[in-house]
Amino acid sequence: MTPLLEVNHLKKHFPLKNQELFSREKPVLKAVDGISLSVNTGETLGLVGESGCGKSTAGRLMLKLLEPTEGEIYFKGQDITSVQGEQLRKLRQDMQIIFQDPYASLNPRKTIEKTIMEPMKIFNVPKSERQKKLDHLLDVVGLSPQHKERYPHEFSGGQRQRIGIARALALDPELVICDEPVSALDVSIQAQVINLMEELQDEFNLTYVFIAHDLSVVYHISDRVAVMYLGELVEIGDVHEVYNNPQHPYTQALLSAVPEANPDHERERILLTGDLPSPANPPTGCKFHTRCPIAQNICHAEAPRYKRVSENGQMAACHFAKEVVAQGT
């Protein structure tokens, strides 16, 4: 089966301004630095990492909201890396995005009706259908028809996020990139929105790329998870496998740092020292070696390759991860 979305060696380098006079090399910020992954129809891929690791940039590249520096993007088997103009516009029907900030992502001067109708208008959905679709969408995201005439400021954060979701679903997309959709919400509201997103996935057969920094939320909603560090994927695999048996020292540290709402549970904690290095000047070799508790000389010198670390295809990029040979080879 061809995956719905596939990216190969995807890179995004942003040029930096403060270039030294007469220097030949243009300084760049390597926001995304060669990631490869695929997303299958109907599944949720979680994309986690700390701030500045490039997870949002990766999401935007997948939608072609940003032009990649290098690499390829395939959507339903078709190479969309260099698709432009009208073709790209058509493509966007099938891929939508939900943003983090429910306050900034809605136009304050448009009623909810207008906001949700706009994508349908752009894609010439017949007028007779629009109204029906709008009512249905409001219903599925848990808003009532009276809300149509209201403006965004009249809604709470959770309700606004529901409006954002309704807008994203207006054109029956297949792929929805969710960029921190619940992190601005209160805990009790967060659960409502997560449940809603799960229900909608079943109802509309959606595929999610779920970008978040909250590891418990990602665990809850994802089938597979990809962990990013400084623009690179360090580990990817089935969510249960990665969380229960992380092979990359960064994944291990990240998971052990999650505060757990259970005072009885004593755990061993791996405290990372230091901060995230700057993506404008990343360390050599393995990018994690400056904070890694098990770093050796080889880590400074050589970037690790991806190793298959479980029978089910969990992959990790670490010199010291134990490789599992796939059966039948």
Binding site: S188, L254, E260
Partner: protein, 332 residues
């Protein structure tokens, strides 16, 4: 100081805001105390009044429109509400340290870290510039900033978020406060950095025997660092208990709802049990229990009677009609 006498005793605090749209009872009757060496957690969602509680203790409520209309805040036996601004300034920053959520906006971007630290220290202690500088170095060392000598002359923008929060903690600890108020100190930080900062809090507390008030929305953080915890809803305490007891035997429907609505990393995945509805608008609180419109166990009486905070077990208080008679029920 005797460990049984509380360091801070907040009695029946009411902080209201008088706005054009009406009176907002942001904090409406809370009592709690903090002992030396103890960490008290205050948990709640936005609008629950947890930050206003902190601001009230610090005497930082903007007035007008805000006013502490009733209650007392006793710090080492003296009521802070009777103090003049000048006296308060002596206590704030010296005896009571504070750390706010956003390390980006709490530091002044145009002064070096040295200048800001020396200023704080010299405002409270009779130190020479040299002494204040030495103390700053010592503090930066204490909170784990590498190469403090060099970093002292840096500006805030030259530090990462986690490092800035360490500097804020260093400033808060500058005069060896006996009480530290931390308002969402790790919310803006990544988990690996959060783990470092929480570890720092624990270490500082052990070394300095401080009382800490930790204000947060994250039950995970509470479970990691707090001895006792107060859950707030719409300006009032919903439940107050020792931390372990709260997680094992939490009683208030709101507390239980919060716990069930956070995703957990457990082998089986369950559907999250969300709390229906939205946090109430403090402009027009319903009659009766303010959680009633969202409560699963709502009874007819909940809509009319606003329950009192009742002790249901040793040091375990719940404000809910479901448990109105439970202490008697348990004892008989």
């Amino acid at each position: 100081m005797d460990t049984d006498t509380p360091l801070l005793d907040v009695v029946n605090l009411h902080t209201h805001f008088f706005t054009k749209a009406g009176t907002v009872k942001a904090v409406d009757g809370i009592d709690f105390s903090v002992k030396p060496g103890e960490t008290l957690g205050i948990v709640g969602e936005s609008g629950s009044g947890k930050s206003i509680t902190a601001m009230s203790i610090l005497g930082l409520i903007p007035s007008p429109p805000g006013k502490i209309v009733d209650g007392g805040i006793y710090f080492k036996g003296e009521n802070l509400l009777d103090k003049k601004e000048k006296q308060l300034r002596q206590i704030r920053g010296k005896e009571i340290g504070m750390v706010f959520q956003d390390p980006m906006t709490s530091l002044n971007p145009v002064f070096t870290v040295e200048k800001q630290m020396v200023e704080t220290i010299r405002a409270h202690e009779n130190f020479s510039k040299k002494q204040a500088r030495d103390r700053s170095l010592e503090l930066l060392n204490l909170v784990g900033i590498p190469d403090p000598k060099k970093r002292l002359t840096s500006y805030p923008h030259e530090f990462s978020g986690g490092m800035r929060q360490r500097i804020m903690i260093a400033i808060a600890l500058a005069c060896n406060p006996s009480l530290l108020i931390a308002d969402e100190p790790t919310t803006a930080l990544d988990v690996t950095i959060q783990a470092q900062i929480l570890d720092l809090f624990r270490r500082m507390q052990r070394e300095l025997d401080m009382g800490i008030i930790m204000i947060t929305h994250d039950l995970g953080v509470v479970s990691e660092v707090c001895d006792r915890v107060m859950v707030m809803y719409a300006g009032k305490p919903a439940e107050f208990s020792e931390t372990k007891n709260l997680f094992d035997h939490g009683k208030h429907p709101y507390t239980l709802g919060l716990m069930n609505s956070i995703p957990k990393i457990t082998p089986e995945k369950h559907k999250l049990e969300a709390i229906d509805g939205v946090p109430p608008d403090l402009h027009g609180l319903p009659k009766g229990c303010s959680f009633a419109p969202r409560c699963k166990h709502v009874m007819e009486s909940c809509l009319n009677i606003d329950p009192e905070l009742k002790e249901v077990d040793n040091n375990h208080h719940v404000r809910c009609l479901l448990y109105e008679d439970s202490k008697e029920a348990v004892s008989t």
